[in-house]
């Protein structure tokens, strides 16, 4: 089973920047539906539930979103917000 088959992603504060999460979700409006829950294992800040609006592209959309979120988080953490 691929990590992209799952609809829940544990967001770790040390890796992902929570300030850019809403911005990223907004950029994927129309492609993804999302919800956030805070009951997570230790070290994880929250659990992000995402579901592609078009099931035929589900894996691709989730993969692109998670990479987009990771890239933006790394830039935000390094002080570059562009």
């Amino acid at each position: 089973m691929s990590f992209l088959d799952d609809e829940t992603f544990h967001i770790i504060k040390s890796v992902y920047d929570l300030d850019v999460l809403n911005e990223c979700l907004k950029d994927y409006e129309g492609f993804l539906t999302s919800s956030i829950s805070k009951e997570t294992p230790s070290k994880c800040t929250l659990a992000l539930h995402i579901k592609a609006e078009h099931t035929s592209e589900s894996t691709a959309i989730k993969a692109e979103f998670m990479n987009y979120f990771l890239g933006k988080s790394i830039l935000a953490k390094s002080g570059n917000t562009t």
Binding site: L4, F9, I12, V15, S42, K43, A63, M66, I74
Partner: protein
Amino acid sequence: MASSYEGIFVKTDPQEISFEINTAVYSVSVILKAAYYFIDKAYIYIDAPDEKKYLVHLRPKLAVTTPSQLAGEFLNQCLNQKLQEVVDKETGKIREMLVAQAFSDAHLSIAKNESEKERVSYKQDPLNIGKLRSAGDGM
């Protein structure tokens, strides 16, 4: 090729690979720098099953690269970033001093030139431009 990596990877399949990274060896900044280096080559998701390790999932974007090759390159990149961190720790202060010195010298020489310009009028012709022109006209 993939068998040489056996034991390192948590999960391998034809499309993706997962492996753990010990936080005692590589800091999160090292892992993030390595991840950013691979962001155009693979889909990456980083999880943390517990406090002592990160779990990295990689899925190559192009079929030309196998997941295990990509994971091997990722781990090498972690090592590269770690080495850069060590070198930066050892020589960072010297580099900062050299840059500060270079900028402060440049600033002083600019300031010196500016103050000289303020003091000397063009009518005094400190660079003898007028003399050079008249010599050129006579030729």
